[in-house]
């Protein structure tokens, strides 16, 4: 790390209507360092990076790159100056090869025609230099998520980027892929590149960064050297108060009704969007008073499995039994009445209606309970909303606000409040803490434990291995649509489970 300043953002201000996304945020990144930008969801990290990469204009403030004032530049200017961003959602053409994707927009041309051989050669050289290992002639559609991400980075390097901005790059990766990414980033840094890493995972920050900037509520509240700080200090800066990060190894009370299978899935086969058997002959059961966690890299059938149990995806074959009742072909409504509660993985698409008020969202799926002879019972809805905003600490505590106006963590609290405050025996919790700040994670975990301790059966699916390990009484691993392993809590650890998640091991079939 040199002392040259690569990036300097000063007093950045950005508003989206009533939302003040950046309030005078500042960021200094030195050339040749890996700099972590951390903060809870809605803290304004992504906005700051989008401003830096030229995707959005600032309302006020200045951006300097390499000592030059570039305020108001465009993405094209940014790329020309060697600043590029890897987005959470990949921007690749699946029907083109790796090499074609990398050179897209800057294709090598010989005699007026696309020179495929040269493109592949160039990309191969680039792969070797950077340590990013992807076969240039493969179709992007056939790549794993980790490989696709490498292609995104290659695209930037091909365009001569020396400053890489990565937005939550590990959200979709398995632990070995994460380790691989760190290797690549370190190698790039050692080659003189500057990396800004957006994340809210503290272990990542500690593992790979040199310096850390913490954002909270649109402001940059702290800058620290990784060597001199601790996860507790970072978490405190992120949330603005002390946070208990320790993994509590609690057990359910002995009185919990153990043993009765509240939810049972037998030989379930479910069709996916592109795959015939996204869920492939899966059988398991969840007992009352137990949390069964399903670990696995995203896209291995977890989504389809939960949607099938929830009743929003058709089952090809197999049976789903809820409290002794076969619900395989029942409607969502019937399942709900039979005691099924569901925290869906995508709150923006399924879990909430963003333009509905908090109060309206708090009855979604329960609207029939708040209706008298066809009319919405507005008093009951309001009362329920007031109760929930207090009980589940939804902020701001104004149920008439549209859900869109709340931060990610508070939006998730709406979903949690709704699904936990109703009568249920089985809870499906899909990615319950995705994109949620540290404080809210703590709260949501406590709620899941509380449900378990109250004798509910909880089926937890999470891409965060740590979360699954922390909460679950038993842990199943899903890979390629199948349950490839089942562990008791005492047997499970990241080291044991990791190889099953990547498909390197597949025995112990439950």
């Amino acid at each position: 790390m040199s002392d040259t300043i690569a990036l300097r953002l000063t007093a950045i201000d950005k508003r989206f209507g009533p939302v003040h996304a950046n309030r005078g945020a500042s960021l200094v990144v030195h050339a040749g360092e890996i700099h972590a930008l951390v903060g809870e969801n809605g803290a304004g990290k992504s906005t700051l990076m989008k401003i830096l990469s030229g995707m959005m204009p600032v309302d006020s403030g200045t951006i300097e790159v390499g000592g030059r004032d570039v305020t108001g530049w465009t993405t094209a200017d940014a790329i020309a100056a060697g600043v590029g961003m890897v987005h959470q959602h990949f921007m690749l053409v699946p029907t083109l090869t790796v090499a074609e994707n990398v050179v897209l927009g800057r294709e090598p041309v010989t005699g007026g025609r696309f020179d495929r051989a040269r493109a592949e050669h160039d990309v191969k050289m680039l792969c070797e230099q950077s340590g990013l290992d992807v076969p240039p002639d493969r179709l992007v559609a056939d790549l794993s998520v980790g490989e696709a991400q490498r292609v995104e980075i290659l695209k930037l390097l091909y365009r001569g980027a020396r400053t890489l901005l990565l937005d939550e790059p590990t959200a979709v990766l398995s632990p070995p892929e994460v380790a691989e990414l760190w290797k690549v980033l370190r190698r790039l840094r050692d080659g003189g590149a500057t990396v800004v890493l957006i994340t809210h995972k503290l272990d990542e920050v500690m593992a790979v960064s040199e310096n850390i900037t913490v954002m909270r509520a649109g402001e940059t509240v702290a800058t620290m050297a990784t060597r001199e700080t601790s996860p507790e200090k970072i978490a405190k800066a992120m949330v603005g108060r002390d946070v208990d990060l320790a993994v509590r190894n609690d057990r359910p009370p002995a009185t919990a009704a153990h043993g009765t299978a509240a939810l049972e899935v037998r030989h379930l086969v479910v069709r996916g969007a592109r795959i015939e058997k996204a869920v492939h002959d899966v059988s398991f059961s969840v007992a009352a008073g137990e949390i069964l966690g399903i670990a696995g890299v995203e896209g291995n059938g977890q989504t389809e499995l939960l949607e099938a149990i929830a009743g929003i995806r058709n089952v090809t074959s197999g049976t789903i039994v809820l409290g002794g009742q076969d619900i395989t072909r029942r409607s969502v409504h019937t399942r709900g009445e039979a005691g099924l509660s569901h925290i869906p993985e995508d709150r923006h698409r399924r879990g909430l209606i963003l333009d509905y008020s908090v109060a309206e969202n708090l009855i979604l799926g329960q609207q029939h309970r708040y209706t008298t002879s066809g009319l919405l019972d507005r008093d009951a809805i309001e009362q329920h909303a007031r109760h929930c905003t207090i009980e589940y600490d939804i902020r701001p505590a104004d149920p008439s606000l549209p859900a869109r106006a709340l931060s990610g963590g508070n939006q998730q609290k709406i979903v949690i409040a709704r699904e936990m405050s109703r009568a249920f025996t089985v809870l499906l919790a899909a990615q319950p803490t995705r994109g949620v700040d540290v404080g809210a994670i703590e709260f949501i975990h406590a709620e899941l434990r509380k449900a378990r301790n109250n004798g509910k059966a909880v089926l937890l699916v999470s891409a965060e291995l740590k979360e699954v390990l922390t909460l679950s009484d038993r842990i199943a691993v899903m890979y390629g649509g199948r349950l490839v392993a089942m562990f008791s809590r005492s047997e499970a650890s990241e080291e044991v489970i990791g190889p099953f998640m990547t498909g390197a091991k597949r025995e112990r079939v439950a």
Partner: protein, 357 residues
């Protein structure tokens, strides 16, 4: 977010785009009028005087706005459910025909308290029946309602044309004989000032329908579910709402509302069904819904606005071609379509510029 900020957002989102569109249209209109060598001020004044300035013109505006409110509500309820009903023209015609047919079938001398509801019901049922076709096709087979409703317009209009010209017409005309019962009295019967204008008591029925639709959308469980399906179908599915049923109901309701508009001409004005009476009011309903932001209250105001332009076009015809108002209508529609996100962005930028860094 404070109440203040929320009010501001509401204004930015719902009120400002139509107003900006109006200003843009006025400026464009100024240029067009000047191109004809006329003074914009004089032309606009004539337009206003010919519409809101005298009771006959105002009556005509009310008459035209009544039909447009119906077709606007029809399109709006579809859009609230996430469906684009282009078929209001055919549904409006079908409603008019239904009302006319009922009025013909009823014996002369049937008391109005029976005849009018029967005829109104016939109009609503006819429009709803036409709407049920795209409803079933969408709910059952996933057929896109835009294609179905466009095609259905041709079928319905051609069918009605055949029925009227081959079976029911008065010789030498393209309209049916006069209805025996079910006529809705004109406003001029109660308020002499409206004398000569086509405005009739249908407007009260239509305003009631608008109020009822508002109440349905925002106060009933079915309305909650309908809007949920329109806003986020995946979330509605998650909530156990059956999208197919909502789509079907929305398209039937949409057709019924458009059909209701048919009584304005048939029961309230001419007392017979005439081929081609719709004159594009069904299609203009799309613009009315758009400007009215799919809100029943907004639709009523948007209908008044378009009715004013349409009637005003006749008033200024001596100075400039009346087609100028059609150009204006087009500009308003384009401007609103463009203004929605644009206005807000511009506003934000100007606000932040005024603020010291």
């Amino acid at each position: 977010m404070t109440t203040n900020a929320r009010t501001r957002t509401l204004i930015e989102e719902s009120v400002l785009p139509p107003l900006v569109a109006l200003v843009v249209a006025l400026v464009a209109g100024d240029l067009l009028i000047m191109a004809y060598g006329q003074s914009p001020g004089v032309v606009w004044r004539t337009l206003l005087e010919g519409t809101w300035g005298n009771s006959y013109g105002f009556g005509q505006v009310l008459y035209k706005a009544t039909t447009l409110t119906c077709t606007g509500l029809a399109v709006a309820v579809g859009l609230r459910a996430g469906l684009f009903n282009i078929g209001a023209e055919g549904q409006l015609a079908a409603g008019g025909f239904g009302a006319g047919l009922a009025g013909l079938l009823l014996p002369g001398g049937t008391p109005a308290v029976i005849a009018i509801p029967v005829c109104v019901f016939a109009a609503v049922a006819a429009g709803g029946a036409v709407g049920s076709v795209p409803g079933i096709l969408r709910a059952r087979f996933g057929a896109h309602e835009v294609i179905v409703t466009i095609m259905l317009n041709f079928i319905v209009l051609a069918l009605l044309n055949y029925l009227v010209s081959a079976k029911l017409h008065v010789p030498e005309t393209l309209h049916t004989p006069e209805i025996h019962a079910g006529a809705v009295p004109r406003l001029s019967a109660a308020f002499a000032a409206f004398h000569g204008s086509a405005a009739n008591w249908t407007i009260v029925i239509v305003l009631l329908a608008a109020a009822l639709l508002w109440w349905f959308l925002f106060r009933t469980r079915a309305g909650y579910e309908l809007r949920a399906v329109g806003l986020q179908p995946a979330a509605a599915e998650y909530a156990g709402i059956r999208g197919g049923r909502v789509w079907f109901n929305a398209l039937v309701t949409s057709g019924a509302l458009a059909g209701l508009g048919g009584i304005n001409f048939v029961l309230g004005y001419k007392h017979y069904y005439e081929d081609g009476f719709t004159g594009g009011a069904g299609f203009l309903g799309i613009a009315v819904a758009l400007i009215g932001r799919n809100n029943p209250v907004g639709v009523v105001f948007a209908a008044l606005f378009f009715a004013t332009l349409s009637q005003g076009g006749l008033a200024i015809n001596a100075m400039v071609p009346k087609q100028i108002v059609e150009v204006l209508q087009g500009i308003v529609i384009i401007a609103v379509a463009a203004a929605v996100p644009e206005v807000r962005r511009l506003l934000r930028q100007s606000v932040s510029k005024r603020k010291p860094a």
